[in-house]
Amino acid sequence: MTKVVDRKPLTFYERTYLPTLLEGLKVTARHFMRSVKGGNAALQLGDGYYPEVPWQVAEGYRGAPYLVRDQDGNTKCVSCQLCEFVCPPKAIRITPPGADGVPADRPNAEKMPREFEINMLRCIFCGLCQEVCPEEAIFLQKHYSLTGLTREEMIYDKERLLQLGGVHAGIQKWKHKLEEAREQDTFPVKTD
């Protein structure tokens, strides 16, 4: 269903560019005066400016993505590689365990990444990895200023991401599944 929007022709006065010009003057002058009076946020840091006094991010701010652990200290990521697939700048790189690797060091889900790297030079903090993650294992956190002296230093590996990410208490679906399976001791055939 198309909606036709009436586009009014500009009046002569508007076509002289004067109204927009005056509006621009007003806006810029207002901001200028506010800044000069010291009323703008950038100047209101108290003890100093940004690098010395870090900017306090707002609630819900989405910065760098890090991996998280569950409340039992287990890696939540199961190496499904959906974030790697969805990542627009191809910043994420996951090495799956492979046939010969150790699948998982935890009792729940039988798969976890052998290596998980995020190239923070490429990352654009878009949040698609968090959006797509079926395990709630990666979250955009509050860090926004990441620096390093080499390119290699800016590729964060699994250990670092997990350490920076901390713990995120979730529903632990794999754990509940395992508990549910253990309760069902009635399965007639023991295969192993």
Binding site: C80, P103, E110, P134, E135, E180, Q184, F187, V189, T191
Partner: protein, 571 residues
């Protein structure tokens, strides 16, 4: 099993079959009365086949066109109707406008409820109407999916099948968006070791029995079955007997869900990252069509690619797993001159000068039947220019009754047709060895073979003035060679193989060559120019087309006309 067996003679053109008219979703179409079943025998056309001909794909799990029909998954239920018959007069009942009245199939005890039929096993009859898009059909599919998902664990994030899983696909297409199931799911064994190459996850199994039927009816090894009852149904082998025939990995392809997974591919790469390249298996002369799954110049798996003239939809485990050597770390990467690294230009120029200066008859060439037909043709041109005897190395194994050929070279017929080897490969090799021993042959060019294993020992190689070896992996011959020219695996170049039955099949490039390695055809082209044998086309297409003009066996063929399935030539 006639049609599925590729070693059987090609079937003669079937006699024309009678056509019948039916309606699919209200559209009238004409379909043949019979169609080939999984063995190629004519059988009454099923509703599923008719819908396929009408362009309407009916979802299905247990049905597979190359397997016996089981009809147990119920996914292909389709609502239908048949022309009404007056019981008294035995005449069709007509509508007011003269068209036959259609009686929709309904439950006998509940006439207002539509009753579907499994499309994979229900033959069509004249005047029948199929409703694969009707609300009732959609409802039946949704209900079947809901029932299949009752005990399915939904561990897609850790399941290797995710991305190519029929359960995922049909859930999106036909399933309900939400689950009504609140009870605890039945948990079955996970990661069951079924055999040396197969892992079974019983929770994911939807009991379609494709794997059971394949092993019994195609592979001829009645190894799998279903045990227990109801929700506790599981796939199992006989106790103490592993599932280890040479065709087990086909069950992984067949499995519509992630129940049967390959140990080799397990947790290795998600399928949506894989680039698919059409290629041909090199492990024997059958030349099974394959799809190479690669990501970023790493090959992760081979999968069979359907070609009824060669391998059907199957391939053997041995050929499927024979890909790791392409990524081996000790691959020849550098051009070597007397053991020192050099450039392609320097090496090719030097070799060409030495060969051009050698008197006629003092050079011999040993080629490999693992090379592409185009390369063999160029080697033959080089040999003609130098007056050199040529041969390739035979490689024999044991054949089986399904796919594996006794000849383990993928291109023996290519070597024969281009004139590299005689009718019997390898019979000129002793002559070349004698020539070296007698001192008449002073230069030897070897492609892709270790001649020390085939009658030309290291002592003979030491007598040579010039030994040029082109290979992919290091061996005793490359170690002794004065010049080493690193070549490419089939996955790193384009070309054709001629299989045991004379089918010319092309394969495409999946990954980049390692290090300095180049496709053999490229430097053969430079060698030909350097020895004064003339210019040849630079591309795989051009080379094949030029070869087809020069070699009588390939007369009239063109690269583009080979297609994905290949073309037969007389051998």
């Amino acid at each position: 099993m006639s049609n599925a067996a590729p070693n059987a003679p090609a079937p003669t053109a079937p006699p024309p079959v009678e056509k019948i008219r039916i309606k699919v979703d209200g559209r009238e179409i004409e379909v043949p009365k019979t169609m080939p079943d999984w063995q190629g025998r004519p059988q009454p056309t099923t509703m599923l086949q008719a819908c396929h001909l009408a362009g309407n794909e009916v979802p299905h799990y247990c049905y597979h066109e190359k397997l016996p029909v089981a009809g147990n998954c119920r996914m292909c239920l389709v609502e239908f109707g048949t022309p009404m018959m007056d019981p008294a007069t035995r005449k069709p009942v007509l509508e007011a406008d003269g068209s036959p009245r259609i009686a929709r199939s309904v439950l006998p005890y509940e006439p207002q409820t539509p009753r579907g039929a499994i499309a994979c096993a229900t033959p069509i009859s004249p005047g029948m109407e199929l409703y694969p898009s009707s609300p009732a059909t959609r409802q039946m599919r949704e209900a079947v999916l809901e029932s299949l998902l009752v005990n399915h664990p939904l561990d897609c994030p850790i399941c290797d099948q995710a991305g190519e899983c029929k359960l995922q696909e049909y859930s999106v297409e036909h399933g309900s968006g939400t689950s009504r199931f609140v009870e605890a799911k039945v948990h079955k064994p996970k990661a069951v070791d079924l055999g040396p190459r197969i892992v079974l996850d019983d929770e994911r199994c939807i009991l379609c029995t494709r794997c059971v039927r394949f092993t019994k009816d195609i592979a001829g090894d009645d190894a799998l079955g279903i045990v227990n009852r109801g929700s506790y149904n599981t796939i199992a082998t006989f106790p103490g007997r592993p599932f280890d025939n040479n065709y087990t990995l086909n069950t992984v392809d067949l499995c519509p869900v992630g129940a049967l997974t390959s140990k080799d591919f397990r947790f290795k790469m998600r399928v949506w990252f894989l680039k698919e390249t059409r290629s041909v298996c090199t492990s024997c002369a059958t030349g099974c069509n394959i799809t190479i799954g690669s990501r970023e110049d790493t090959i992760h798996r081979y999968e069979p690619r359907g070609n009824d003239a060669v391998n059907g939809p199957w391939m053997c485990d041995q050929g499927r797993l024979n890909y790791r050597w392409i990524g081996r770390s000790d691959r020849l990467r550098d051009v070597l001159a007397n053991g020192a690294k050099t450039t392609w230009k320097a090496a090719v120029d030097a070799v060409a000068a030495r060969l051009a200066a050698a008197p006629s008859g003092s050079v011999a060439i040993v080629a490999s039947a693992r090379q592409t037909t185009e390369e063999l043709h160029l080697i033959k041109k080089l040999a003609d220019r130098l007056g050199a005897p040529t041969d390739s190395v035979p490689r024999e194994g044991e054949a089986d009754r399904l796919l594996v050929n006794a000849d383990r070279n993928p291109n023996t017929n290519g070597a024969r047709l281009t004139g590299i080897s005689f009718t019997e490969a390898g019979i000129r090799l002793p002559g070349i060895a004698d020539g070296i021993r007698a001192g008449t042959i002073r230069s030897l060019v070897v492609f892709g073979e270790d001649v020390t294993q085939h009658g030309i020992g290291a002592d003979l190689l030491a007598r040579l003035e010039l030994l040029v070896a082109s290979d992919i992996l290091p061996n005793a011959t490359t170690a002794a060679a004065h010049y080493v020219l690193p070549g490419c695996a089939h996955a790193e170049k384009r070309g054709t193989f001629v299989n045991a039955k004379g089918r010319v099949q092309r394969f495409l490039k999946a990954v980049e060559p390692k290090g300095d390695a180049r496709p053999e055809a490229e430097f053969l082209r430079e060698l030909l120019a350097g020895t004064g044998a003339g210019e040849v086309p630079a591309t795989a297409e051009g080379l094949f087309n030029a070869m087809a003009r020069e070699v009588p066996a390939f007369a009239g063929l063109e690269w583009a006309a080979l297609g994905d399935a290949g073309v037969n030539v007389p051998v």
